[in-house]
Structure formats: structure tokens, C-alpha cells
């Protein structure tokens, strides 16, 4: 498990870690060919289904859950927002929420 980034962590560092999580959920070879960026949406661009997003959210919570309440943040999203969620949305929450 990767340690929680120290105080002052940048959005880039969080983004890098989120892409690591995506690689563990989707497979490194999949992420390599998908050109994952901050703007990638989980559903439309990465073609993740609901259960893949569950696995991603659980791992993000494992890594960042002691500092931010990621699951509560997800709960507050509408169905439409969840479907449009991007990697940057998650990174912004983690950086700003700490």
C-alpha cells in the first residue's frame, strides 16, 4: 500500500497515484493504451462499468481515506454527476479536501 502523501502534496502527485490505482483496477496494459489523463471520464473515456468504479473507489479510500471522506463525497454526487466523473474531479477533491 502506498503511504498517504505528505502535507503539501500537489495535484500532480495525487493524479499520478490515481493513475496507479486505475492500473491496478483495469490492468497496466489497458491503462497504457488508453492514454489516461486528468480529463478522462471513468464511464465515457475509460469505459469503466459500475463494479470497476467500486473497485477504484475502494482502493482510493484505502489510500486516502484517513484524510478525506471519499465515500461520503461520492454519496453526495447525483447519478448524473457520477456518470460524468473525471479523474481530475477526484484529484481536486483529494487535494482540496485535506
Amino acid at each position: 500500500m502506498v503511504a498517504i502523501p505528505p502535507t503539501g502534496v500537489t495535484a500532480d502527485e495525487v493524479l499520478r497515484e490515481l493513475i496507479e490505482v486505475l492500473a491496478s483496477v483495469l490492468g497496466e496494459e489497458v491503462v497504457a493504451v488508453m492514454d489516461v489523463s486528468a480529463e478522462s471520464s471513468f464511464v465515457r473515456d475509460l469505459e469503466m462499468d459500475s463494479i470497476a468504479i467500486v473497485a477504484f473507489a475502494s482502493e482510493v479510500n484505502e489510500r486516502f481515506g484517513e484524510r478525506v471522506d471519499f465515500i461520503a463525497w461520492l454519496r453526495g454526487q447525483s447519478l448524473r454527476s457520477l456518470q460524468k466523473l473525471t479523474v481530475k474531479d477526484v484529484a481536486d477533491f483529494i487535494v482540496q479536501g485535506r
Binding site: I51, V54, A55, E66
Partner: protein
């Protein structure tokens, strides 16, 4: 709230499980890590086990339902066999088989007694479990669950839906629609493949027929635990809710705006109904 996602061995198969439970509040990183009263959270929390319906998975509850209930309860959500990330299992997916999985999972998680909440076929599994093992179930919430005694589950109707025994693209589409899958899920090749698998290897038609026989033989009047019947105003199973209300002594019937898929579209309302029922206050 604490979250734990893992695979649990149930029989010879791996089951994908997520637990959410009350936990110590978040605190600043500078605070000492010594134990405090806040850190004694979930050991005594009542367990709530939630079952999804056919062709769905635990994500039905993960995002917008389980986190709210986990402030009070130890919430266990899991993928039924051959669904989500749980291992596939060829052979019938009868109510009995899925009920045995549920009981084995509760044993593995050391849950002696739980409130059960199930949507659609998962609700029927919960109902059978409550009837056959009342000592394991404290409260029961049936969310738009069929009884399998409805005409749509009669053998002739099932054969018709399956294009007379052959699993075709059309029969897959019919089952996807009957299960209330979203348009996006209905178009997904992965969903279509899963439905095809359950109709063939999972012997779904035979499982429905067996379940129909089982449910016809059981006396719903014996059900003694508090039971919430939550049905959609536009659901094809709304009449089932009324029939169950008449048959189950300690039941209450509540309607939520929507069709069979209202747990997806009206998650906050569903959560509120469940929370009030579990707390014993009614809505």
C-alpha cells in the same frame, strides 16, 4: 465510516464483499493516535446484509445507499454468485442455492443474525432465507421483490421469453428489460454476455421454475419478523406488494415513485424508507 472490500471464500467459490460500518470520526493528522472512546465503534453495530437483483451487482447500494446506513449499521453488500466480481458458478441459480450462499457468507463474517434487504430476485432470496431460517433474520426489507408465483414466471411464459428454449439476442434483450437494466447497461456487451451465461450455464429458467414451486409450498403467514415491503408505483410487481402485505402478519407496505429500477433512480428515498424501518420508526 470504515470501508473494507475483499473476497470471502464461500464453499469453493470466491465472493466479492464490501463492508461499511460506523467508525471513529476523521481527525487531523497531528492528533495523537492513542485509542479513545471514538475508536470503539462498530463491534456492536447491528448487521444489515443487502442483496442485489439478477444481472446487477453490489454497486446498486455502494455509492448512494450503503454509506448513509453505515453511520448506524454494519452494512454488508456483496455480489451474488456469477455477478459483479464474484466467481462464476455453472449450475442452477435457485433461491435455495443463493440462500445457502447468503447463510455461508454470514457464517464466514461471524454474523449470527442480521437485517436483510434485497432488491428483485435478491429480495426473494432474502424472503426464502427468512422463512427457512427465521433465527438468522431480525428484520426483512423486500424491495420490489417478486414471489415467483406471478403469471410471468409460469413455465409457458418463461419459455416464450426464451424464444422457446433458445437463447437468442431477443431473449437476452427481454431479460435485460424485465430486470430493469438501464439503456446503457442493456447495450453493454459485458451485460449481454452475463445474461446469456446465466440463461445457459446458470439455468435461470429452471431456477425460476424451482423457485416458483418452493414459494408456492411455503406459508408466508409464519413470517414473524418486522417486514418492510417497498414497491415502485409503476412496477410490474406492485400487486405482489399488496399480496405480501395481506399474507405477512408484521408487514408494512410503502410505495416509492418509479418502476422496478427505483433503487437506482430514487436512491435517497429508498435509503430514507430503509433507515426509518430499521430504526423502527416508520416513515
Amino acid at each position: 465510516m470504515a470501508l473494507d472490500e475483499r473476497f470471502v471464500a464461500v464453499g469453493t467459490k470466491k465472493v466479492h464483499v464490501v463492508e461499511m460500518r460506523p467508525d471513529a470520526p476523521l481527525r487531523p493528522p497531528t492528533e495523537a493516535l492513542a485509542p479513545s472512546a471514538h475508536d470503539m465503534p462498530s463491534a456492536g453495530a447491528q448487521a444489515l446484509v443487502m442483496l442485489h437483483g439478477l444481472f446487477s451487482n453490489l454497486s446498486l447500494y455502494f455509492f448512494r445507499i450503503a454509506p448513509s446506513l453505515a453511520h448506524t449499521y454494519r452494512v454488508v453488500i456483496y455480489d451474488l454468485r456469477s455477478h459483479g466480481l464474484s466467481e462464476r458458478a455453472s449450475g442452477a441459480h435457485t433461491l435455495e442455492v443463493l440462500s445457502e450462499d447468503l447463510l455461508a457468507l454470514m457464517d464466514a463474517l461471524e454474523i449470527e443474525k442480521a437485517a436483510l434487504a434485497g432488491h428483485s430476485y435478491g429480495g426473494t432470496v432474502a424472503l426464502l432465507t427468512a422463512l427457512q431460517h427465521p433465527e438468522k433474520v431480525s428484520q426483512l426489507a423486500l424491495i420490489d421483490a417478486p414471489c415467483l408465483t406471478e403469471p410471468r414466471f409460469a413455465a409457458a411464459r418463461l419459455r416464450q421469453r426464451l424464444s422457446h428454449g433458445r437463447v437468442t439476442d431477443r431473449s437476452v434483450a427481454r431479460y435485460a428489460s424485465a430486470a430493469g437494466l438501464s439503456a446503457q447497461a442493456r447495450r453493454s456487451p459485458k451485460s449481454q454476455e452475463q445474461i446469456r451465461y446465466l440463461l445457459t450455464e446458470g439455468r435461470l429458467e429452471a431456477s425460476f421454475s424451482a423457485g416458483r414451486t418452493t414459494m408456492q409450498s411455503l406459508d408466508l403467514g409464519r413470517l414473524a419478523m418486522p417486514t418492510l415491503l417497498l414497491y415502485g408505483t409503476r412496477s410490474p410487481f406492485r400487486a405482489t406488494g399488496r399480496r405480501l402485505k395481506a399474507a405477512i402478519p408484521c408487514s408494512v407496505l410503502e410505495l416509492v415513485e418509479g418502476g422496478h429500477d427505483f433503487p437506482v433512480k430514487s436512491a435517497p428515498q429508498l435509503t430514507e424508507h430503509l433507515a426509518c424501518f430499521l430504526a423502527g420508526t416508520g416513515i
